[in-house]
Symmetry: D2
Subunit: 303 residues, 4 copies
């Protein structure tokens, strides 16, 4: 019987790694929990852990073995407090090098009031020429994944084939992410909620908030994924996390080819032709140590 | 009085450069003309010029001076023959290096029948497991632009701040592109129509066709653009064309910041905050010598 | 009193991290120890640990605190067995993408006999047209460094600001490397000896051997390094480890500017002018997940 | 009979292209001529052409056909005036993005007195803490090459498979460069002398001077080069010119493999093994629109 777990975190990790599990769950189970914001502040605004996308978890999934795929479906993501923060100026690495000198307040924080009833965020400071500056909430998870291979513990600020900090706007309720499993139990971590964000997280931050998050997990034995995959109602997608940006695109594209050929009954010519005509790319982040490119294909084109 | 010119090309250029103009037109004028396909074949399938995105033009725009902006609005783009060709396997530089050996038929051509009435393209060969493989036409222009600076003549296979081979799916009827003017008369060139294409032109080709194209031109004096800009009904956008992919994103992003601050009455903090929350990126091509990234902002967010 | 420690390793780590120290040493001390080869085989050829540049250590340096610099001088590096292995074909990511299909035996091993008396390595297999293929030994350490920041444990196959897998031919006896210290005790790890290697480790491997290594350590309090630095009799140098290659060069260059200004009594104009006229770059590796660029300056040019 | 031509330039080109030849020469001939500095100033300091590595030539080589190789041996390169200029601060794209704000006087010129008798350059301004700042002359050519393919004319500020702006310190008297020939007559251009320069031309300029240059030319029919190659007394080398830096390395490495296999009687396994153990890389420039990587192999290792 699938269970629903209410998990209240008491400590957090600044790395994704083979840490002591906080909870053992089974395939099919659902977890309701919460995450702190990117700087380690919780729903009350108290700093409970250091800066750097602190992770709730890890959750041990019974039966998960290296070579399997862990699926995580996000059921709900919603801010659990009424303010968030973001950046003020674009990151120095997303503008032309000589233009860096023109960036206003790189590293400074902007502060946003969050209206949970209206589903909006309103800029409090700095004052800009659009006033009020109100945006619609689009709560998403930025950094999450499984324990990396080989006993590694890697900062939740970066990412790789195990997930990590991807900052993909598409990770909203209703989205499922599939991870390669590298260690027994998979060890799922989750953190870094954003109330909203543009492509690329080019301010160096989304609108950073602590959130309540609900997710359910499942296992695909011997799944064969080498990089994170995902799906929502309309699309399947794959994710590459690495620098440079072009290599992230190469990983995402190649993973999609592998997926189409293994699980969608296509031979190579069919997979290449289909992807060539219908592929859509989206940029997750171009700020973190590992950039993120998402390779997408609408489900309606799948045979 | 704005004029409409019917121009039948008799020769083509494989470079964008300061070539002898084929027609002198005035701001406000409209031109109906045609382009050959990427391999130099015309509406009858006859090869009339060499391979490499041969360009129709250049068109001399009266009054255009270096420092101005030339606007080109595409009114109509439609195939003028009933077949097109594309690739069979993804380009070797869009997959992981070690995966290159798995590419089926890189460099081979796929052949598509085009039904101009239905607005579809149907794969003729090779045979793949999706049969029939029918896609909706989305005719667009791949390579076009103005004469580059400094007396240069640059292959229509690549691109830069003057435009060139961008392969952006968004260049469809209703779209306006704004170019920095580098030479007297601007010298607009146009070629490389695609019946349809995925993001990135990852097969190394769209569905390559000869097309009939109608465009109108206008001038903005002392416009201040450093890279191509554009707009459609819903969005404004900027375009960076260069390798690596990340630098293309830097140029597009920086050009958008310049545009917002110069022409939309924003100061730097406002432009950065707005772009940071609402930017959307799209990849034009990741195949050509110069990759293309498009930085987009929905008009509804502009003050 | 500086001590000399003879340390015989009994276990190895596949990551650089905050592992339990194997030995506590003091600034000024010297350690004689050994490392296994990149695949985990020791001086007898026995596989004693998994593949991936297994590290001897970590060594805890008394008094080392975050913000200090740990200096490690390599006194001796010498193979402790009579065979090594390397690659047969260049790595797929150092040739043009379409040329990948021409690589002979990528991933295969070549086997070399090592004559410790003559100081040579002779190719045993595969047979190539140069026969005998004899090269002079130039023993060096490929992967070594301190524990990374933030509780991370990172594969010894890659590198970063804490060192790691740099595969720089210049790390030979007589060379000192300076590391930023991120954790109490610094936790120095060392592994991955090469009998010889070209620039870039473009075969994906040097001539991989187990080695005997002797090093001495020292501390510079509050040193201010952000990336590894080094020196030999003739040069000072800095090291950047990251993809893409150009960013590795940016880190190495910037670190040299910081060093010149902090420790060599230069103002910014002097440091820039000196480096601009005299800089030499060398490529450590272009194979690992993080590429390595070394920025060098001859000591004779220092004031 | 080989002839010696004394050619006094009267006009210059800011692009490498299929321009009207200024002189027709035969294989075996020698040319004594001069070049202006990067900003277009001649031996008297007079500005005779615009900024941008203006080229002397082109020289038409009798018998050169596409597919041949043009060899150009530099016999003499020597400043023909007593001052040069360089930069003051490193280029914004060779430092970490956030460090750009620390660059002193990016874009400013430093002025150097050149003592042609002593063979030295002495910094005149700005004043720095090394005083006098005297460096040894190492005169070299920065930008030169043949007409590119396909009727292109490309700015002498950038480079490609036809040569162009490579800023490789190794192009000194005694060095021979081999170019693929793309057009009848090859059309050799030469310009951009430097009195001296560090690796990478990281100040954005070498010590820019007008020079007297003597070179002799020869032809290799059907040579098979795809990128520039070269040799000096001790080494053979190949050159890649493109962004990003890693791709320049890929072209140079692949061209060396092609050369070794075609002209040095090696099969693929031998060429890979030899290059893998002995390759040396050097960075030409990391400032121009196309970066330059040189792949080198000492002649003593060739069979």
């Amino acid at each position: 019987m699938a269970k629903t777990h209410h998990f209240v975190p008491e400590r957090y990790h600044l790395t994704l790694g083979s840490h002591e599990p906080v909870l053992v769950i089974a395939p099919g189970d659902t977890v309701l929990t919460s995450t702190v914001d990117a700087s380690g502040c919780d729903s009350t605004g108290e700093k409970v852990v250091g800066h750097g996308n602190a992770q709730t978890g890890p959750f041990y999934i019974q039966g998960a073995e290296p070579g399997d795929i862990l699926s995580v479906k996000f059921e709900r993501i919603w801010p659990n407090r009424t303010y968030g923060y973001s950046g003020c100026g674009l990151s120095s690495n997303v503008v032309e090098p000589a233009y860096v000198r023109e960036i206003p307040g790189e590293g400074d924080r902007s502060i946003w009031n969050i209206d949970l009833k209206e589903g909006t965020a309103t800029l409090q400071r700095p004052k800009v020429k659009i006033d009020p500056f109100v945006i619609a909430l689009n709560p998403m998870m930025g950094s999450f994944g499984v324990a990396p291979a080989g006993g590694q513990a890697i900062s939740a600020r970066t990412g790789g084939n195990y997930g990590g900090n991807m900052d993909y706007r598409g990770v909203v309720p209703g989205t499922t992410i599939y991870f390669p499993v590298f260690v027994k139990g998979a060890l799922f971590h989750v953190g870094d909620g954003h109330a909203a964000q543009g492509d690329g997280e080019i301010l160096g931050r989304g609108i950073e908030v602590s959130v309540d998050v609900t997710f359910s997990v499942d296992l695909i034995k011997n799944g064969g994924a080498l990089w994170p995959r995902g799906e929502n109602e309309k699309e399947i997608f794959t994710i590459g996390n690495v620098r440079p940006l072009h290599q992230a695109l190469q990983h995402a594209t190649t993973e999609m080819l592998r997926w189409l050929q293994k699980d969608f009954q296509m031979d190579a010519p069919t997979a290449h032709m289909l992807l060539g005509q219908y592929v859509r790319y989206q940029i997750g982040n171009v700020f973190n140590p590992a950039y993120t490119v998402v390779c997408k294909l609408e489900k309606k084109y799948l045979p």
